[in-house]
Symmetry: C2
Subunit: 389 residues, 2 copies
């Protein structure tokens, strides 16, 4: 089957953080208008909207978010669909936007992601996020998300000798990158010792091993590659868009020290794009907890199993390292408004490939990858991007 090639022709981001100044609608408008202007289109040109959000119902009492987003951005009665796949809502929305352009059914498609998480208490937010796991078998029994990832961390440490210091180095690197990103929630460098000294959340994960509760939105404009230059001088091509799932319950997985859905989605993406992991220059990976970035680096094929933690601690994945990972600051440093994250990852990669990443620009960034995980790994979405010229 011949499908059309798809390109990103516009990107937009809201400031991430505790956005007491903005509600759901304002955040969507901030990112959406920026993306539309970046693509040099008017809102009348948009033919379909995909909106990713995880739990706007529980955070804000608001479902039906894509129709709201379409209305708010002045789109003309276009089909609008909300996508929810826990923390992978944004990545899944991007994949469906890609399919709808590739299919030939729609030309100009907007993919948005948003979450407004700070209008509820931390406890309420934690409960809402718990809905990403198996409510009956995990959350109702008392475990929270840090607990699920802590079990994975313990297993990874047991199998491969991964240390708490190595995990901490993920957070240190991502705060370093976030320091250079004006959209990031945190602009504060931290040390390994700061992480180790921070409050224990779920052994071995401490507060600074965990991504924060955040407000934020992100948006992309997609178009067929063949006409992409009409909209933007530097269109970024989507080389692959793949997704996989696994059991919702951690207890039923083949392994606790890796995320199988990531491996499957990555292998399919490399095959579709006819590349290997070695071709990737920059990657935004899903570091909801520091252990998650370690597993991602292995499951994506950047490092052999058990080898990533030391490499990260040695600086191989820092800005302009062997591979530059989470140049935006990642979920840890840039913030993690869950529905927006998967879309924000693509925005960062587009900026890097265009050469528009300012102080955090990676030299010679030609090919980039995004990796977005839902829950404890029941969903994983992998996209590969490259400059179109």
């Amino acid at each position: 089957m011949i499908m059309r090639e798809v390109a990103v022709v516009g990107v937009g981001l809201s400031k991430f953080g505790e956005r007491w100044d903005a509600g759901l609608k304002e955040l969507m408008a901030e990112a959406g208008v920026a993306a539309i202007e970046d693509a040099h289109i008017s809102s009348n040109d948009v033919e379909m909207l995909f909106g990713g959000t995880m739990a706007s119902g529980r955070f804000m009492g608001q479902e039906h978010i894509a129709a709201l987003m379409s209305d708010q951005l002045g789109f003309k009665n276009v089909p609008a669909v909300r996508i929810e796949n826990a923390c992978a809502s944004g990545g899944s929305a991007l994949r469906l936007g890609y399919i709808s352009v590739a299919s030939g059914i729609h030309d100009i498609v907007v993919v948005g992601g948003v979450e407004k998480m700070t209008d509820v208490t931390s406890a309420e937010a934690g409960t809402a996020l718990g809905g990403a796991g198996d409510q009956e078998w995990e959350l109702f029994q008392g475990i929270t998300f840090p607990g699920l990832y802590a079990m994975m961390a313990k297993r990874h440490m047991y199998e491969y000798g991964t240390t708490e210091e190595q995990l901490a180095s993920v957070a240190v690197k991502n705060h370093d990158n976030a320091y250079k990103n004006r959209y990031a929630q945190f602009h504060k460098k931290i040390s390994v010792q700061d992480v180790l000294d921070s409050k224990m959340v779920s052994d071995p994960l401490k507060l600074l091993d965990c991504s924060p509760i955040s407000d934020g939105a992100a948006a992309l404009v997609l178009a067929p590659l063949e006409v992409a230059k009409k909209y933007n001088d530097t269109p970024i091509r989507i080389l692959a868009s793949e997704q996989a799932s696994d059991t919702l319950r951690l207890a039923e997985r083949d392994s606790l020290s890796g995320i199988k859905a990531t491996s499957i989605a990555a292998q399919k993406a490399y095959k579709h794009a006819r590349i290997t992991a070695r071709d990737i220059d920059i990657a935004e990976v899903h570091d909801c907890f520091t252990i998650a970035e370690v597993m991602a680096m292995e499951d994506l094929g950047f490092y052999q199993k058990g080898k990533a933690a030391k490499a990260i601690a040695d600086g191989e994945t820092a800005l302009n390292g062997k591979i530059s990972v989470n140049t935006s600051g990642g979920l840890k440093g840039c913030g993690h408004p869950v529905g927006a994250t998967g879309v924000k990852q693509a925005v960062e990669v587009v900026w890097q490939l265009r050469g528009d990443a300012a102080d955090r620009q990676v030299k010679g960034a030609d090919m980039g990858l995004t990796h977005n995980v839902g829950g404890s790994g029941a969903t994983a979405v992998v996209h590969v991007f490259a400059r179109a010229d």
Copy 2:
């Protein structure tokens, strides 16, 4: 752009109602397994899953529902995505399933819809459903969904002289049809007087003008038309799949006596299918309230504006009438588990077109339509189906 034709090759439904015997997982399994068996496939054959649910987060504490559905049905690490568009979640999921098969990216796709609504109080359910409208401008101000539709009913009565008796006749017809459907929530015939005598909910809508709170699930298996006979002797072709949106807030609409998103989606669907409304033999339309069915009959082009209510009261849309509408019993009689409804509508149309609708079979049903609305009309999805032979 040449796309592939798409067919429905399997359908499944759970019993609708107050299902104290079943949770979310059991309902999904009931419908999903039936659809898979109906398509004569194994769960290993499925390549992608779309799961529609509106508010499982608020009803059950469970998000990430598509991954759960995929896990529960034994699918093999396939991409699974939850679609939420309020009460049009199921219809929107079907449209994305259609696009993903039409695009050539996936062959065998399952579309499921589910909602488990009776584990919370009616007040909690009403608040959760309120998330389908504009939380800040409508719900927070105190109006509920019956209130929004009551305003539309009042306006329709003012503009066209529609009467409460005519509205009541919608509920009477749909209970008549549900009486013949073993999957329906209600098996109780009612009279116009019963409706008029029932408790006032929001003037002029009384209890029996309103669809109920329900548990239930529905599922479809889609395949490329060219290979559909491999799976089912009577594949049903999807002739058109269209969707439109409108402002989330009722106050900003052009008209209160019709749903513009329905008209737009219907006109696009007729154009795509190269038919007119007159070619449709059977239709499942979105009767969340009796006034909604009256507006649907007009907005879909079956009747001129202001003419549908009398025609319904005169029996023109009864089983084997001029056009047979809501043969399943509709949302009113069959029940309205919100995320399942749009998928259930397609299941009923497939049964009718196959000639498998038992006591409620419409004679000579060759072409059918489904019409699924989100909220007070910010989303509308229209599908047209026909026998493939």
